[in-house]
C-alpha cells in the first residue's frame, strides 16, 4: 500500500471516530433520536475506513475487489445516514426515503458486481454518494434565506466549506476516472491524485464535524431563547394581573364590591407563576 494512502486512511478513520464520539456524546446528553442516525452513519464510515485498509493489503484479486465494493457501499451508506441525520434539524425525517435510498445504494452496485462489472460497481457506488450530497445541498441553497435564519453565520460558512470540499472530491473523482483510475484505488505512480483525494477527504470530514457542532449549538441556543421568551412573556402577564389586582384591592372598599374575587384571582395567578417556574427548572 502506498504510504500516502495508508496515512490518509488512518487519518480518515481517526477523524470519523471523532465524529462518532461527538454524536454519541450528543445522544448521551440531549437524548434526541436524530443522533442515532448520525451514530449509525459515523460508525459505518469508520468501518468503511477499515475496509479500505484491508483492501490495500489484500493480495487476492477477488478479495480486493470485494473489499473495494464493501468500501464503496459502506461509504455511500454512511454518507446517507450522516447527511439525513443533519437534515433532520430542518425537515421531518422520511423513514421511507432512508430505506429506499439504502436499498438502492446497496443493491445497484451489488448487482453490477455480480455481473462482473467490478470497476463500474465501486465507481458507481462512490459517485452516487457525491450525488446524494449534491441533492441534499440543493434544498438549503435554494431556501437560503430561511436556512440562514435558522443558523448562525459560522454554521453557514462551515456548511459551505463542507459543500465545497465534497464538490471538489466529486469533480476530481470524475477527472481521475477519465484518466483511468478508480476512486480510492489509484496506481502507485499517481500520488498526486491520491494526495488530493485523501486531503479533500480529511478536509470534508473535519468541516462536517465542525459544522455539526455549530449546528447543534445554534439549534440549542434558538430553543433556549424561545423558551426564555415564552416563559418571560407568560410570567410578565401573570405578574401584571397580580399588580393590578393588588392595586384594585388597595382602592376604596366602597368602589370595589367583590374583593374576594380579586383575592382568588391573585391566588390562582401565583399558582400559574409557580407552575411556570417549575417548567423552567425542568427544561433547563
Amino acid at each position: 500500500m502506498h504510504t500516502i494512502a495508508y496515512f490518509g486512511i488512518m487519518l480518515l478513520i481517526f477523524l470519523r471516530l471523532v465524529g462518532l464520539f461527538i454524536a454519541v456524546e450528543f445522544l448521551r446528553v440531549l437524548k434526541e433520536s436524530k443522533f442515532k442516525l448520525l451514530i449509525i452513519g459515523w460508525f459505518i464510515w469508520v468501518l468503511a475506513g477499515f475496509s479500505a485498509l484491508i483492501l490495500g493489503i489484500a493480495e487476492n484479486t477477488l478479495l480486493a475487489e470485494i473489499f473495494h465494493l464493501i468500501n464503496g457501499i459502506s461509504t455511500s451508506l454512511s454518507i446517507i445516514f450522516v447527511i439525513i441525520g443533519l437534515f433532520t434539524y430542518f425537515r421531518e425525517l422520511s423513514v421511507k426515503m432512508l430505506v429506499i435510498l439504502s436499498i438502492l445504494f446497496i443493491s445497484i452496485p451489488l448487482i453490477a458486481f455480480l455481473f462482473g462489472l467490478y470497476s463500474f460497481a465501486y465507481n458507481l457506488s462512490s459517485l452516487s454518494l457525491f450525488l446524494i450530497v449534491i441533492f441534499f445541498s440543493i434544498i438549503p441553497l435554494k431556501e437560503r434565506r430561511d436556512f440562514k435564519n435558522r443558523i448562525s453565520n459560522k454554521s453557514y460558512y462551515w456548511y459551505l466549506i463542507v459543500l465545497l470540499s465534497f464538490y471538489s472530491i466529486t469533480i476530481s473523482m470524475i477527472i481521475f476516472y477519465f484518466q483511468g483510475n478508480s476512486f480510492g484505488s489509484y496506481s502507485e505512480d499517481f500520488s498526486i491524485a491520491m494526495f488530493f483525494d485523501y486531503f479533500l477527504g480529511c478536509i470534508s470530514t473535519i468541516a462536517l464535524i465542525i459544522y455539526s457542532i455549530h449546528l447543534e449549538y445554534d439549534i440549542s441556543n434558538i430553543q433556549k431563547s424561545k423558551l426564555t421568551e415564552r416563559y418571560s412573556h407568560d410570567l410578565g402577564n401573570i405578574i401584571q394581573v397580580i399588580y393590578i389586582a393588588t392595586d384594585l384591592i388597595k382602592l376604596n372598599d366602597e368602589k370595589i364590591k367583590n374583593e374576594s374575587e380579586n383575592l382568588e384571582l391573585i391566588y390562582n395567578k401565583c399558582g400559574e407563576a409557580a407552575k411556570i417556574i417549575k417548567d423552567m427548572r425542568e427544561n433547563q
Binding site: 410570567l235 410578565g236 405578574i239 393590578i244 382602592l251
Partner: protein
C-alpha cells in the same frame, strides 16, 4: 374623561384594566381580544378613542400589524404598547406608537404614562 380602547388577548388583564381604569374615571369604549378584532372595531368607531392600549402577542393578528393598520386608518391615533415582548419595542416606536411599556408594570406608573400621552397635543 379619557376614552380608552383596550386590545389584548389575556382576559384577566383586560378585565382588571377595565375595572381599574373605570374606577379611576376613564371610559373603556371597547375591548378587542386579538389584532384582527381591534382593526375591525376601530373601523366602526364613530368617535375615535383618546388612547389605544395595545398588547403585541395575540392570535390572528399581532399588535404591531394591528397598530400599522390602525395608523393607516388614522395617523393621529395614540397607541400605547403594553407587552411582555420587549423585542418589539424599537419596531413599535418606529411605526408611530406613542410609547412602549414592558409588562409587568405597576399601575401607578402606567397611569402616569397614560396621562402624559393624553396631555400631549
Amino acid at each position: 374623561m379619557t376614552t380608552i380602547f383596550l386590545v389584548g388577548d389575556d382576559l384577566d388583564i383586560m378585565t382588571l384594566f377595565d375595572k381599574m381604569l373605570t374606577n379611576l374615571g376613564h371610559k373603556i369604549v371597547a375591548t378587542a381580544y386579538n389584532g384582527e378584532e381591534a382593526v375591525d372595531l376601530f373601523r366602526e368607531f364613530r368617535e375615535l378613542p383618546d388612547l389605544i392600549l395595545m398588547d403585541h402577542r395575540m392570535p390572528k393578528k399581532d399588535g404591531i400589524t394591528a397598530a400599522q393598520e390602525i395608523l393607516k386608518l388614522n395617523k393621529n391615533s395614540k397607541i400605547l404598547f403594553l407587552s411582555a415582548d420587549y423585542t418589539i419595542k424599537e419596531e413599535a416606536l418606529a411605526l408611530g406608537a406613542k410609547d412602549f411599556i414592558e409588562k409587568p408594570i405597576n399601575f401607578d406608573k402606567l397611569l402616569n404614562i397614560i396621562e402624559k400621552i393624553i396631555s400631549e397635543k
